[in-house]
Each structure stands twice: as structure tokens, then as C-alpha cells.
């Protein structure tokens, strides 16, 4: 637990919750990123516009964060090309098939007490923990 950061986690989480509350109370929409992004594919134009705007906000967030003078966290991904492609395919297909991801099910769904989201969150938390366990402690050694 060397890198335990509960306060920044809570602060960042609160901002995510605020964004979801704003989108709901003003626009009546769920802030589920996989649904918003996936919905652009094959969507009719009026239905796509707000989705594109939300995604644009996500993309711009690092620029705004850096412009505020804060230092962006250093991020490194050291996975093989194969792992990146398989993981991306699973995340993309899985979130659409399961109707949500960490934001849609994990945040918005749990917040409103959705039974489907509760089950989906339990399942993806379980399989992700199992995957890390196998990769790091069984295969990785």
C-alpha cells in the first residue's frame, strides 16, 4: 500500500459524480462512456451530437488540466501489441454486449440502485481481479 491516495481518489471520484449528475439533471442522460462512444457508431445526427460533445470534453480534459498549471500524471503502458489488441477488443465488444462499463454500470447504475448494474459490476470486478491474479501470480510468477 505504498501508493495509497484516498483523498485525490475521493476528489476525482466526486468530480466524476458531479459530471454524471449534471448530465442527468440538465440533459436527462446517463454518463456511461461506453454507451456514449458506442452510440456514435451508426447513430443519427441529432443523437450523435451530444455524444461527440461529451467525448470531445473527455479528450480536452488533459489539455485543460495541463493549462491550469498542474502536472499531468506520468502514464506508461508496457504491454505487448497482442495484449493491447486483445484487451481493446474485449473491452469494446464486452461493454456493448453488457450494456455498460465502469462509468455506466459502476457509477451511474450503482448510484440509482440498478439490479443489472450491480450484477454487471460484480461480474466485471470479479473477472478483472481474476485476470490480474492469473497474469501476475500464476503466469507472471
Amino acid at each position: 500500500m505504498d501508493n495509497f491516495t484516498p483523498f485525490s481518489a475521493l476528489a476525482g471520484g466526486s468530480l466524476i459524480g458531479l459530471a454524471a449528475a449534471l448530465l442527468l439533471l440538465l440533459n436527462g442522460r446517463i454518463a456511461g462512456v461506453s454507451g456514449i462512444l458506442g452510440g456514435i457508431i451508426g447513430a443519427i445526427v441529432p443523437e450523435a451530437t451530444w455524444r461527440v460533445a461529451f467525448i470531445a470534453g473527455l479528450v480536452l480534459s488533459s489539455v485543460v488540466y495541463a493549462a491550469s498549471g498542474a502536472t499531468l500524471p506520468r502514464i506508461s503502458i508496457d504491454h505487448s501489441v497482442g495484449a493491447l489488441i486483445i484487451a481493446g477488443l474485449l473491452v469494446g465488444f464486452g461493454t456493448r454486449l453488457g450494456s455498460g462499463c465502469t462509468s455506466g454500470h459502476g457509477v451511474c447504475g450503482m448510484a440509482r440502485g440498478s439490479r443489472r448494474s450491480l450484477v454487471a459490476t460484480a461480474v466485471f470486478m470479479g473477472t478483472s481481479i481474476l485476470t490480474v491474479f492469473v497474469a501476475r501470480h500464476v503466469i507472471g510468477g
Binding site: M1, D2, F4, A9, G13, I16, G17, A20, L22, L25, G28, R29, I30, V33, S34, I41, G42, T49, W50, R51, A53, F54, A56, G57, L58, L60, S61, S62, Y65, L72, P73, I75, I77, A87, G88, L89, V91, G92, F93, G94, T95, R96, L97, G98, C101, T102, G106, C108, G109, A111, R115, R116, V119, A120, T127, S128, L130, T131, F133, R136
Partner: protein, 151 residues
């Protein structure tokens, strides 16, 4: 106006992902590695996010419509089907492999170079492959196709 709100919501959402370090795959994998040097920080992200957005739902229940739109588009399905379970399981394996989920993958896109682009492209292809499923075009749920997704 709705578009501006969406842009602002995406921006605030992204800032939350950066500040909480959700965009850092190493941080995510440390959270998921319960048998290793476990870092429980990200549980606080979920708790904070669910608590604040829970307030939003609380207030939304007292209104018949959102401030800027005609209606709330909130999924109302309660049934547990195989697609929900299998989809969530696939997503969990992918998330555990690299430590990126859709929101952070987008926010981190300008920061992580070619590997982030590769993951993002594969994610889009996965999403596109879903639309090729016969039942994905005509969802069985009662509401409009655009609302089939919970999220």
C-alpha cells in the same frame, strides 16, 4: 445548450479521471491486484462518484423532466440476461489485461502514444463488431434503440 452541457460534463468527467489517477493503468492494476501489493485507492473513486451522482438521481426523482430536455432517458430494465453477464465478463478480462476502460482510454489518448492509440482502435473495432450482431440492430427492450444500452 444541451451540447454545451455535454461538453462540460465530459470535461469535468475527464478531470475527475485524471485527478483520481483512473487514467493510470498501473494504478488500476494495483487496485485489481488484491493478492499483490494491493492499492485500494480506486475504491474511493467509485465511492465518491456513486455518492455524488446518487445525489443527482435523488433530485431527478423529484422532477418529471430534466431542465433542458423533454424526458429522462434512464434504462428501466431489471432482468438479468446472458448478454449482460457475458458482456461484463469479457469487459472485466480486457480491463484486467491492460488496466484501461473506455473513459480513461479516451482521456489518456493524447498522453500515452502509440500503445494507447492501438488499444483505442481495437476498442472501437470491438464496439463495431457488436453492431454486427443481428440482435444488436433490433433490441428486444421496450424503449427506443438508442436507449438499449444501460450506459
Amino acid at each position: 445548450m444541451q451540447v454545451l452541457i455535454s461538453l462540460a460534463a465530459g470535461l469535468i468527467f475527464g478531470l475527475g479521471l485524471i485527478i483520481s489517477q483512473m487514467i493510470n493503468p498501473e494504478k488500476v492494476l494495483a487496485f485489481l491486484d488484491v493478492a499483490g501489493d494491493w492499492d485500494p485507492s480506486l475504491a474511493f473513486v467509485l465511492a465518491g462518484a456513486a455518492a455524488v451522482s446518487g445525489l443527482g438521481y435523488f433530485f431527478s426523482r423529484r422532477r418529471s423532466a430534466p431542465l433542458l430536455a423533454a424526458q429522462f432517458d434512464i434504462p428501466d430494465r431489471r432482468d438479468l440476461d446472458a448478454r449482460l453477464i457475458i458482456g461484463a465478463a469479457f469487459f472485466g478480462v480486457g480491463w484486467g489485461l491492460v488496466g484501461l476502460c473506455p473513459g480513461p482510454a479516451i482521456v489518456a489518448l493524447p498522453l500515452v502514444g502509440l500503445q494507447g492509440v492501438l488499444f483505442f482502435a481495437a476498442m472501437l473495432i470491438g464496439m463495431g463488431a457488436f453492431t454486427l450482431l443481428p440482435s444488436a440492430v433490433a433490441p428486444s427492450s421496450s424503449h427506443s434503440p438508442a436507449l438499449d444500452a444501460d450506459a
